[in-house]
């Protein structure tokens, strides 16, 4: 029997929720959507996850991640892509959350010495780049020699896993039931990941109820999560 490949072990390290990325502080609209359910219709966690995969991650975050990965450490081009993510993320709470989450991930990668992380973090700190999460993921995981498919798999899995942990902490779902939702979400991630991505493919998302919830919740001053 062959042992695990080195890239698989690297992928496990960077997909692990224990990898410091700041992600635990962001719910991507889950807190807002669940707490405003009475005003914006019913809330179902599994349906929320499915919508986030199909109508945000598949055509926006995944595309940004793939394009960032293909830029292979070209920091100026990454900054340009970053500006595209900034311009195409409508709600401030999700936009600033993505920047802060990306900066947190960059912080770890700078400290562990991932190639390009320190230089890109310096650009973000100077205001020359935004540091959105999927762009930073593409930069870092490409620098670690993870292939495009692995990077997409990690990004998709982390998105769903972070929603699940947020839902558990909010008391929306139990820890075991959350894993049932994660398992049911994996085929949707796989299907989305199989869709070919163009090098200049535009970013698209359509999650209006979630965005309205984030906008309403952001003004309340009563939040456990950053968004």
């Amino acid at each position: 029997m062959n042992g695990p490949s080195a890239p698989l072990l690297v992928a496990l390290q960077h997909a692990d929720g224990q990898f410091p990325s700041g992600g635990f502080a962001f719910s991507q609209g889950l807190e807002a959507s669940s707490s405003l359910a009475g005003r914006l219709g019913t809330f179902d966690f599994a349906a929320f996850v499915d919508i986030q995969i199909r109508h945000r991650w598949a055509d926006a975050d995944r595309i940004a991640l793939v394009r960032a990965h293909r830029l292979a450490g070209d920091l100026e081009a990454l900054a340009e892509l970053d500006r595209e993510v900034e311009a195409s993320t409508f709600v401030e709470g999700l936009r600033s959350g993505s920047r802060r989450n990306g900066m947190a991930l960059l912080t770890t990668h700078e400290r562990i010495g991932t190639c390009g992380a320190a230089a890109y973090r310096a650009m973000v700190r100077k205001g020359d780049a935004c540091g959105h999460l999927p762009v930073v993921q593409g930069l870092a995981w490409q620098a670690l020699d993870l292939d495009e498919a692995s990077a997409v798999a990690i990004g998709g899995y982390q998105m769903v896993a972070s929603l699940a942990t947020a839902a558990v902490r909010l008391g929306v779902v139990g820890a075991i039931d959350a894993q049932k939702v994660v398992a049911r979400a994996l085929p949707a991630i796989e299907a989305a990941a199989r869709v070919p991505t163009g090098d200049d493919q535009p970013l698209r998302s359509f999650t209006p109820l979630c965005e309205i919830a984030v906008a309403m919740h952001g003004a309340s001053g009563q939040r456990l999560f950053s968004n």
């Binding site: 990325s21 962001f26 802060r100 947190a104 912080t107 562990i112 020699d145 456990l224």
Partner: protein, 215 residues
């Protein structure tokens, strides 16, 4: 290909302001201690910035900003994501980034206080985040807290027992509590404070200036 070496550059060492953590249970007096330490550090000529971690709101940060004791721009708030342990221990990246931002905004900053969200006795600070940290408990929380051997009490660089003035009203023998804390910590530093009347605060400021800033 050996990914362990080819994809990494040497990790930069950090040169900047000293960072200290202030942890402890909800209501033990962390924010009140900070409000007393701000003028104490000002009197010692220490340039200060503060990061707070609130559980649900930015209330602690707003309280400090409105206090008139410090430039409000020198106070940053970080959300704890419903998990106050995580933001200072398992994943301190948001706090590190906030402290880095304050250093960049205020290059003269020598000391950054990082206040945890209220937590329990198991809370500890990552040494990725802080150089030194203290843990604040209070006598009204019960005189058995030191005996419970929580990591917060045992591992901190300085244990602060606050609200000493309340001891007679909550049936606590302060001398016995202090002795038990000293035993549990094997003699490591401890301070008794009454932040309401500023008792014991100068000694903490002096210790930080000496032990952390090496003045």
């Amino acid at each position: 290909m050996d990914t362990r070496t080819s994809t990494h550059s040497p990790s930069p060492s950090r040169v900047g302001a000293a960072r200290i953590g202030i942890g402890g249970p909800v209501g033990s007096g962390k924010t009140a201690l900070i409000e007393r330490l701000i003028p104490a550090f000002a009197a010692r000529g220490v340039s200060l910035a503060i990061v707070t971690n609130d559980l649900v709101t930015a209330e602690d940060a707003e309280r400090i900003r409105r206090s008139g004791l410090i430039d409000p721009a020198r106070v940053a708030a970080v959300e704890a994501g419903a998990c106050p342990h995580t933001v200072i221990r398992e994943d301190p990246t948001l706090n590190i980034a906030a402290a880095d931002d304050l250093e960049a905004l205020f290059p003269d900053v020598e000391l950054i206080l990082i206040e945890s969200g209220g937590d329990n006795l198991a809370s500890t600070f990552s040494l990725d985040l802080v150089d030194w940290w203290m843990f604040v408990i209070d006598v009204a929380g019960g005189d058995d807290i030191p005996r419970k051997n929580g990591p917060g009490v045992l591992k901190c660089d300085l244990l602060v027992v606050n609200k000493t003035d309340l001891a007679p009203y909550v049936g606590v023998d302060l001398a016995a509590m202090a002795a038990q804390a000293a035993t549990a910590r094997a003699g490591r530093p401890m301070a008794l404070t009454n932040c309401r009347s500023n008792e014991g605060v100068d000694a903490i400021a002096d210790r930080i200036v000496s032990d952390v800033l090496f003045r």
